[in-house]
Symmetry: C2
Amino acid sequence: MHVTDVAGESVQPPSLESTGCRNVSPVLNRVGDKWSMLIVMILADGPRRFNELKRHIDGISQRMLTLTLRGLERDGLVSRTVEPSVPPRVTYALTDLGESLKQPVETLGRWAMAHIACIRAAQQRFDARLDGANEP
Amino acid sequence: MHVTDVAGESVQPPSLESTGCRNVSPVLNRVGDKWSMLIVMILADGPRRFNELKRHIDGISQRMLTLTLRGLERDGLVSRTVEPSVPPRVTYALTDLGESLKQPVETLGRWAMAHIACIRAAQQRFDARLDGANEP
DNA sequence: CCGGATCCTATCTGATACTG
DNA sequence: CAGTATCAGATAGGATCCGG
């Protein structure tokens, strides 16, 4: 994919430090919310319909699924296709941009799953230290 | 670094699909919040003191910096070192676990910076379509 | 310098009910 | 089936004052 931006400025990643941090924030606010990443992960496996997604995520409310999908659509990460039939059939899929996000998301997802145990352990150590301090 | 979990279970990433999604969520809620990832990115460059971080992030309130650092510390991603001097000198650094997060975070960070323009463009197209529909 | 405590607001989320 | 609308509770976030 040939990524140039709208105004014609070349899009070259500067050092992650200094310059970039303020650009990363807004993206994180989308991708980093409660559901977006999960949806991207599921859609990475192929297009899904609304209720397929709902069933697959389990815990998400209809409202939040709609809202999150709208957000992802707005950001150009997900496409929404309506087949004008009865009953209506709406299919969601990753766009090219969304596909390009698969790799980073997978990287983070694998890290998360590989280290979730370490994290929980650290949390328990931390909480135990606090309890010990409060009730000696 | 040799990452095995506490209980001695081997930590092998299952397929990102099915099994993993519910494990990823909690991790995302930490790493995916408004500031954690930014802090990890900065700390990736080396240890920093409290106000160094505050100055570097610019936009974060004292409160949120404290809270976020506590959270990261609780998760075992960041270490907090107090030098008992006057004035006090508190240094934050990535732990080994935190270091292991550097790579995934950088991957996502680079993606974010490389595609921020595409995203903003998509948002404007989306919003424009809505305006056109509401005010013909 | 570091950060705890408090107050107050904006936003997010879920439950529920209703529509094409 | 795939939404929209509305309401109420939870949570995040900022501003400010205070203390070690």
